[in-house]
Symmetry: C2
Subunit: 705 residues, 2 copies
């Protein structure tokens, strides 16, 4: 028995704050449970009424003579608090607070919410809300509609979690319109106690749920969220999770010192979380339903090779386009398939993919064509397109598809175009859980999403690198910096820190005079770089504080003097720690690694190409720490222009494994030292395969959380 | 009287090939005209029948005793040809051939199609089809449904052109489902005579058409297409044109010698045509209807500042996101607006944009809030979002919106979420032509498309550059090359050619021996580049055929010998014309200009950033020649990373006007010399503003068309 059973499948429900006045929430919720033909027992609670909608009313939940599983509370904050105490006394097993006026208004409301959540948690009663729309379970042996919605949806295998109550009604209406059913439906409001992860785990275990949809406004990330959700999306019985996350363009982190900081906003965080957890993000409610329908059939394509069967050229082209845009390819048919198609189709048909059975096709040609291609080992899934024409037999074709569908394990998605003429066929397909869409592009995109999910499920998992880090030394460097009040670190302090986690900075030494610089230069060897070191000068180049490719002692000494002069002009007040004399990094591909701490989520690790790529094109990938080899690997492979590392146009193949190791090291560095707020390693020169990588510049800021 | 009136508004229609057998095309079309309550006179023509559906039948169109405006022909090719002769004899004013079996099957069918088109053209009778679905005009004084569709759509202000017959039925069904009406509806099939441009011009003049939708499979570009369509989309009475073009991922041009050639595919051509003509391309039928609805209200936002009014937070956030993604911004309210909002809304409301009138809002708050923001001079358009909650008054709110809508000129788009609860309100909005959508993201995107169109209408048009080209000299260079059998030109021939059209190549001279190279080097001055010249070696770098940054005569002579050795190893058979000694280009931003001839469309001009940007990121823009200053200007501004030319991070501002002039020159070069098949100027170094640009490398191929 799961705790949340009390919420979704209670044997008895008390509506506390039930009312006789239509239009009041306390009336509507009570009426909806009652009229929804709830299979359990329903008790109204209201000290001022004798009965509500003819049902005997109780003054308090404690007066109810029988056990109560679920309490729906529709009361203002103070009264809700009191009633929670009653519920605990009564031994209620689950609570939903529908009313608003709590944390979302702040002040006393927020305080009371915290008290209520605390009381529930202390006795282990799950609490939904406050400020939510309620809960629906259309299962025939429950039929619980404890919500604002007057209609209870059909039974289906999709479960829904919504943070917004307002969206729920629209989603229910939309689902009714498209013939969708739900398994469980809940609005979670302020999430004072039960939140997404609890429900995801519950839905995952629920045998009646095959797909999960979430509408999310903000996520409070628990530490193990990513790992726990990964188990749901890719375990033994993976459950696909589709999410709409609103607040996309919300302003990102502002006024950051590093590139990483300026690029890491809300969007980067959420996309990283979703990617790592295997959650599929969608943009619109339409897409969510399109994809949910495909997943709810519980069939995944083994690969990306799709056959298209159509009775009209235009829609076939549209489907082909969207197929390729969605990461699928058109299957090439075997000789057997080709022969079978020639045997069953008229000579004017198109026998190669997309197969065109021609406008005057009736049921037979569709059936024979599908029969032929579905058997082909080179076909992973089929798209069936039907346009109503004079000889078209929509219902017959639908029956044929369903018959074949039952005998195969391959996914089929259909587009029966038109609303009226094809409705009988569409209904037949829906009844037999064959995904069907109005337009071919939707059917193709849905198949593409299934395939993406297959790739996630079949992703390669390599053993972790065995890496040794000197975390004690790193800790000491950071403690020393913090103790001396340093908050912005350059290479001088940053390089030894990074060395503890496997990075290789260029050899360097700080010089205080031109003569000393010259001497260091001779020791290190040429060519060399000079860089000013000052906490007040972050953008060294802008200040004329950098000289590169110096080849003689004379150049070094001269450069030293110039830099000092420039710095004085640029920032007369700056305190100069000295000038760093640094061996020039050997040539390599210029990449950037970075870190940004995001409140509530921890450290985001960034990877991208350096220079103009990061500055102008913002072509970077983020993942949340901690990350291991496999995440690092997918990060690097996910960057646009990845080919630059794999031997593009005669470039040497770069040491990609070294970047992987360094990303893992970076992740460990910031996990061990949460004081690191921002960090840019820019550029990191990645050398030829097997030759490692060299850190050429570092900027790092520390801040206690 | 327009010629096409005979097609859309005939006073009499003859159905030639009419039939009594249900299911036959000749029956269905005749029955649909008859039962659609056509206001004119209808004559069946069939030599074997006395009457069809009780209507007296004629053996030939010439037997009809009255004048015939439109002949619908449903006959196989040979019979159709005969009947066309009858039609001409009869003086029919317009012809639609519905039947298939013509050009699309090739052979005799194609020949007959050509004959038919020729005969019609000779006497000036417009011909639609063959191989099409027919024509529909729902106007109450016509009511012509000469199509396969049993239903005639509502009257509306959107006209539709479809190349695919199959899609038509689905579009009609979909429109009926969403409550859309049409002004004119036609399927054009093989386009033997009348094609898109004829219909676009006709629709543009039609006072009953405000928006045009096209479903296009392929376009045969007439020379003046872009200019003519531009007059439609941006003249005195601009008519927006929305297009779905299928065949997006069709394989592009293959095996091209130039970057431009390899990047210029079907997609590039069509996008260039649409861009230049002001046609709005959409991806899905859903989007087409969403946007058509917004345009059909005939209101454009003056700017991009949008106010959002909502009764729920979540949908408000979604709308905000999509608003910003769609190129709009949230309006900042004036003090007056702010005061008005505070006066009329409860204290818990959100007064800044998006305005949240809170879940318990009835009609009044919506009305007052809209009244306040619509008056604000800082607001260019309003998004109204309504979610059904207990106090929501969907119909009242819709009435209030309509009242205010009638008093303003600003566009308003609405999202009344949910299907059932809000349907009365939605209907009221639709009846008064206020665009309304199911989800807020659709309403926001539609507003964004309106704004994009405003930007097109208000685009800046600068006077053309006055440029002088030496077209005679250029012609001679090309003729000489063609005469000597040269098809691939490098810098040696290409540079003087480009000079005729305003380009400035680096000074250069061809050397045959190391000593000669040294002598030329001293003449030209240092630093220098050496490049091999051979028609067999196109990729000079790959062959070790390039040496750069040579600073002494010794280096040049040594480089000459090395290159010859490398070339011999790389391609022993290659005929070496010599080695080019070329002054190194002064520094500048590296861009690429290119040309590719696309069959049937002419020359595509390409602009992009050079090097890895074009090679790996394919970040380029195409436009069709001929192009002038304004198109060139928008091309350059349209490139991703345009900021690299405008002084990004301390780079000098580049000579953008010189790139504009060179694009115009390049366009003129290829217009004057259609033998140019492909051309890459890569890189062109663009210097600081006012300092021009230098061509550093050229490859050019010639081929007579």
């Amino acid at each position: 028995m799961e705790k949340l059973d009390a919420i979704f499948s209670p044997e008895s429900v008390a509506v506390i704050g039930a009312s006789s006045t239509p239009g009041k929430v306390g009336h509507d919720i009570f009426a909806n449970v009652l009229r929804g033909e709830y299979k359990g027992t329903l008790y109204p609670v209201n000290p001022k009424a004798r009965s509500i909608l003819s049902v005997r009313c109780y003054a308090s939940v404690t007066d109810i003579p029988d056990p109560v599983d679920l309490a729906m509370i529709i009361l203002p904050p103070k009264a809700a608090l009191k009633s929670i105490e009653d519920c605990i006394e009564k031994g209620v097993k689950g609570v939903v607070i529908v009313s608003a006026g709590f944390k979302e208004v702040g002040g006393e409301g927020a305080e009371i919410e915290e008290q209520i959540a605390g009381k529930c948690r202390a006795v282990g009663i799950p609490l939904i809300g406050p400020n939510c729309l309620g809960v629906i379970n259309p299962s025939s042996n429950i039929r619980l509609n404890a919500s604002f919605s007057t209609r209870i949806p059909h039974k289906g295998n999709i479960s829904f979690i919504s943070q917004s109550g307002a969206l729920c009604t629209a989603v229910l209406d939309f689902a009714a319109d498209r013939g969708f059913g739900f398994s469980k439906f809940i609005s979670i409001g302020n999430k004072a106690d039960v939140e997404e992860l609890d429900l995801l785990k519950y839905y995952h275990k629920d045998p009646e749920t095959d797909v999960i949809m979430i509408y999310m406004e903000e996520l409070r990330l628990r530490e193990n969220f990513v790992e726990e959700v990964k188990k749901i999306t890719s375990g033994d019985r993976p459950t696909p999770i589709l999410v709409i996350k609103s607040g996309k363009t919300a302003a990102g982190a502002k006024a950051a010192a590093s590139h990483t900081g300026s690029l890491a906003g809300t969007e980067a965080v959420y996309n990283a979380v979703f990617h790592q957890a295997g959650i599929i993000r969608v943009d619109t409610v339409d897409d969510m339903f399109d994809f949910a329908q495909a997943f709810s059939a519980r069939r995944m394509p083994a690969g990306n090779r799709v056959a298209i069967i159509t009775n009209a050229g235009g829609p076939g082209i549209i489907a082909t386009d969207m197929t390729e845009i969605s990461g699928l390819t058109l299957a090439r048919f075997s000789r057997e398939t080709d022969e079978a198609l020639h045997k069953h189709l008229p000579p004017t048909a198109n026998f190669s993919n997309p197969v065109d059975v021609i406008g005057d096709a009736s049921r037979d040609r569709y059936e024979n064509a599908l029969e032929a291609v579905i058997k082909d080992n080179g076909v992973d899934g089929v798209l069936m397109i039907l346009t109503p024409q004079s000889m078209t037999d929509a219902i017959g074709t639908a029956e044929a598809i369903v018959n074949i569908y039952k005998r195969t394990k391959k996914p089929i998605t259909c587009s029966f175009m038109g609303v009226v003429d094809v409705s009988a066929g569409v209904k037949h397909l829906q009844e037999h859980h064959v995904p069907v869409y109005r337009f071919p592009e939707n059917a193709a995109r849905a198949m593409g999403t299934l395939h993406e999910s297959t790739r996630w499920l079949k992703r390669r998992i390599l053993p972790q690198y065995e890496l040794n880090f000197d975390s004690l030394k790193a800790r000491k460097i950071i403690d020393d910096c913090l103790a001396s009040g340093k908050s912005v670190l350059g290479e001088h302090d940053g390089a030894p820190l990074l060395e503890c986690y496997g990075f290789k900075p260029c050899p360097m030494k700080l010089a205080q005079t031109a003569a000393e610089a010259g001497q260091i230069a001779d020791e290190l060897g040429y060519p060399l770089v000079l860089k000013i070191v000052s906490e007040q000068i972050l953008h060294k180049s802008d200040a004329g504080g950098v000289r590169v490719n110096l080849k003689t002692r004379k150049d070094v000494e001269h450069g030293f003097t110039e830099i000092l002069e420039n710095a004085f002009t640029y920032a007369p007040e700056a305190q100069i720690d000295g000038i760093l004399v640094q061996k020039m990094a050997p040539a390599g591909e210029e990449v950037i690694l970075g870190v940004n701490r995001y409140p509530g989520f921890g450290h985001l690790i960034m990877f991208g190409f350096g220079g103009i790529y990061v500055e102008l094109f913002k072509n970077v990938v983020f993942r949340l720490a901690p990350l291991g080899r496999n995440t690092a690997r997918r990060m690097i492979r996910g960057i646009k222009g990845y080919e630059m590392l794999t031997g593009f146009r005669g470039k040497p193949v770069a040491d990609i494994e070294e970047i992987e190791r360094l990303l893992v090291g970076l992740s460990q560095l910031v996990t061990d030292n949460p004081e690191i707020k921002e960090l840019d390693i820019n550029p990191l020169f990645v050398h030829e395969k097997g030759s490692g990588a060299t850190v050429a510049d570092i900027i790092l800021t520390l801040e206690r959380e």
